[in-house]
Structure formats: C-alpha cells, structure tokens
Amino acid sequence: MKALLIARRELSGYLRTLSGYVVIAVILALNGLFFNAYALGGASKRSAEVLSQFFYYSSGFTIVASVFISMRLLAEERQTGTLPLLYSSPLRDRDIVLGKFLAGLAFLSLYVLCTLYMPVLVLVNGKVSFGHVAAGYLGLLLLGSASLAVGTFGSALARNQLLAAITSAVMLVALILCWLLARITEQPLSDVFSAMSLWNQHFPPFQSGLIHVRDVVYYLVVTYVALFAATRVLEARRWR
C-alpha cells in the first residue's frame, strides 16, 4: 500500500532530523513540570485524582505536540518542491494524506509513550487502576489523532511550516472554544456547539477512566473530516 510507503519515509524523516526530537523533548519537559507542580503538588490526593490531573495536563500538551508535529507534513513538501514527485507518481491524493497522517500519528504516539513514566511514578507511590490508565491513554491518542488531522489540513492549506502551525493552532483553538459559544447560545445551537467542542465534553470522561462510544466516534469523525478536507485541498491545488 502506497500510503504506508509514504508513512515510512515521513517517519524516518522525523527520526533522522533533530527538530522532531526537540519538539518531543521540550513538550515532555513542560508536561513533566506541570505534572510535578500541579498534579503531584498541593494537598495530598488520591492516586486516581493525581492520574486524572495527569491526563488533564497531558491532553493540552498532546494538542500542542500535534500542531508542531503536523506542521511539516504537507507544507514542507510544498516548501522544498517535492510535491510534484508525489503528484506525478501513480498515487491517489488520499494515499498522500493518509501516509503523512499515519507518520505523524506514529511520531505522536512516541511522545505519548514517553509520558508513561508519570503514571508509573503514581503506581510506585500509590494504587492505580490499569483500566483508568488505558482509558486515559486511549483518550490522549484519539484527541491527538483528531488534532493531528486538523494539523494535516492546516499543513495542506499553508505555504510554509510556520503558516501551517498558525493555521492549525487557530482551527484547534476555535474547536476548543466551541464550549464558550455553547454557553452563550440557546438550544439547539448550544447543544451543537457543545458537541463540537474538541475538549470540554469529550475528553473529561477519558480523564476519569470512562470510555463512551460517543466520544470515540466524535474524535474519529473529526479525524476523518479533517483528512478528507486535506485531500480536497491537494486535489484543488492541481488546478492552480
């Protein structure tokens, strides 16, 4: 499958250049600092509460990591002039987008995997339900996947990586802030905005160890729609 070929090359690109490691290292350090200062700090808490706070902070850092990881996906190809290679090869545009996204997701998973030491620290000093950890990590991956897909769309739209990061960040912030719109609008609009919000309604259940099908479906739908839009952008670019 051609998408896997593209994914493999892209992933090796991440692993061979310093920028990918720098992104992971910086975000991991910040995540660790927040974990230490806020999740572990303050009054004594139950392990489940510490874990819930860990997922709370990690969700934010996962979104930030997604923006930085996805910004290069398609914008870099455009910037360095390698897009004609993909365009002139017997590939579908969806293969290009899917391959890029999968590589980004694999690299993001590497980051998420690196955060595992924090729940392990909780386990050492307390009692942790593995179900809670698994649900939280599933949530992080789904949230990461949706954010990364939005980032891929931003990367397809933008001329360079910086613009890609800005575009993606704006779109993600808009999605997150939907819950504010839900507060100031009336039904049924408020329900729509609430359901659209990237974090407010859909992530907290994962944070406390609960998996709801509607939340899983929400993140998968966002991923699909954003990747579909990115594919459309690539197709449209052939006209220009």
Binding site: L5, R9, R16, T82, P84
Partner: protein, 309 residues
C-alpha cells in the same frame, strides 16, 4: 505517444499557455525550447499530471491526463524545474523509495536503482546523503528518479539548469543515452543542449507554439539561417565586394587594415568564401562559423524579446 490539442492553462486572468497543439511519436527525443516564462514548465507540468489544464486535451499513450491521470502517471517519469529531493535520505534510499512509489516491486527495486545510477553516473555516491551533494549530482539524482521505474515517457524540465560547462556535457550524454529506450521531452533555453541532443524541436513563445520541426526544417522554413565570421587584411571596399554575392554582410570592425565581417550565409559556404577571399588577393586571417543556425532561428521567432517570467 503524446497528442496535445488546444491545450490552454490560465493562472487567474493570465494565460500561461494558449491553444497548444503538437504530437510526439514513440522513441522521439523532443526539445522544448523557449525563453524564460514562455510557458515551457506549465506545459510540462500538465503532461506530468501535476497541473490540470484549463482547456484542451492531452493524451499520453492512449490515456487522457484529466480523466485517466492514474494510468498516465504509471507511464511517465517527471523531473520538475527544481529536482524533488529529500535531503535527509541517501541517494540509494531515495531512488528505492521513488521506485516503490512508482510501482516497482520490492524484489526488482535494487536492480532498477542500480540501472538508474549506472545511466546517470551516480554509482559512487549511492550511500551519500542528498544534502551533501553538489548541484550537478543533485540534478543527476533528479534525472535518475524520473527514469528509475523505466517509464515510456520521460519529461525533463531544464535538466541542465545551473550546471557548469562540464556538467552540461555530461548531462547531454546522459540524455543522449536515453534515446531508443524512452520517449524524451526535454525543455531548455540553452540552445546547444537542444540542438545536439534532440531529434525535433518545439519552439514556444508567450504561451503559443511558434514553430516545430527538425533544425534543418526550421532553417528551410525561415529561409535559411546561420552566419560566417570573416576577418581579412586588405581594403574594406574590396572585401565587401567579394563577400556580397554570398549574402548580406555586416562590418563589425575595421582598423589598421584589418576588417572583421559577419556574412549572413550558411556555414556550408565557408570553403567557397575562403577561395573567393584568397582569389581576390586579400589575406584571410580568420574564417569561422557564426552564431548557430538554431540560435538565429530562435532569435527571429522570438524577436529577441524578453517575456515576463
């Protein structure tokens, strides 16, 4: 191999190419000639399935580039004006990746990469990172990626751009070596490169095709081309009188009894010009072929004007 009819591409309000029509047969090496901004790259992008045309029809090996692009892409190898290279890969890895992308099986990949490296003289840099290569080698890698999957049609956009004279000669040899196994469409604004490597020429100016044919055919159509540069010692009036019968004469310089002239005549006339000059009692100091026939045709067709890029 290629049929193009009424091909038009607009960028906003600006027409980059207008109503192009030409055909290219199997195994031909075609030179696509034009000034910067004439529409060469746009045409090649459409043929390379990178851009969709605004109007017109392009059929490659029986498949339409718009309705059947996937089939077309399996038959072409395209080198854009900027070689599409991944800096962090080695030459071998990169070519293997492109081969797989273009449908070469995992089992055949190593052999195909080896062949492409052989044809383009890249054997010795197989394990080197692309980011460390010189411009000449990068350009070769660009050509190698276009032919690694043995496509029926090779589309090369300015393969010699930015190369030094020695690298140009080497690249010319590479393109010549492709003759027979591939149909090749190569664009350039460097005339000797085109005249020495191609069977036939397409000359494009301001987005329209102004002439096509072999160099000889174009020369005939344009009423002959070429010039002879002559330098003699003797009387200027006498020199003009002797050379007039061969064609129009321009005096470039006349000083200290030495006259330099440009004679508008075919370079084939050189032996007779030499005889006439010597027979008239003038001392012949230099007799040389002037600007090439192709160059003079090209300049006439494009009126020596620069077009906007």
């Amino acid at each position: 191999m290629i049929q193009v009819e009424g091909l038009t591409k607009y960028y906003g309000e600006h027409a980059a190419i207008r109503d192009l029509a030409f055909t290219i047969g199997q195994g031909e090496v075609i030179g696509f000639l034009g000034l910067n901004g004439a529409g060469k790259s746009t045409t090649l992008k459409v043929l390379g399935c990178v851009l969709l045309p605004t109007a017109g029809r392009v059929v490659i090996d029986g498949h339409d580039v718009v309705s059947n692009a996937h089939e077309v892409r399996q038959r072409i190898g395209y080198l854009p004006d900027v070689p599409p290279l991944y800096e962090e890969m080695t030459v071998g890895e990169y070519l293997a990746y492109v081969a797989r992308l273009r449908g070469v099986t995992a089992r055949d990949t190593t052999a195909r990469v080896g062949e492409a490296e052989e044809k383009t003289g890249l054997r010795e840099v197989d394990g080197e990172l692309i980011s460390t290569l010189s411009h000449g080698y990068r350009q070769r890698v660009g050509v190698a990626q276009a032919l690694v999957h043995k496509p029926a049609l090779l589309i090369l956009d300015e393969p010699t751009s930015g190369l030094d004279p020695r690298q140009i000669v080497e690249m010319r040899d590479v393109i010549r070596g492709l003759k027979g196994t591939h149909t090749v469409l190569v664009s350039s604004h460097i005339l000797p490169e085109i005249s020495q490597t191609c069977d036939r020429l397409l000359i494009i100016h301001k987005g329209t095709l102004v002439a096509q044919g072999t160099e000889e055919e174009l020369g005939r159509k344009m009423g002959g081309g070429g010039s002879i540069e002559v330098e003699v010692r003797g009387d200027r009036a006498r020199a003009l009188e002797v050379l007039k019968p061969f064609g129009a004469v321009d005096v470039d310089r006349a000083a200290d009894g030495v006259v330099s002239l440009t004679l508008r005549a075919s370079p084939d006339e050189r032996p007779r010009v030499a005889q006439a000059v010597v027979g008239a009692g003038l001392e012949l100091l230099r007799l040389d072929q002037g600007a090439g026939q192709l160059e003079s045709i090209f300049l006439r067709l494009t009126h020596g004007q620069e077009v906007r890029a």
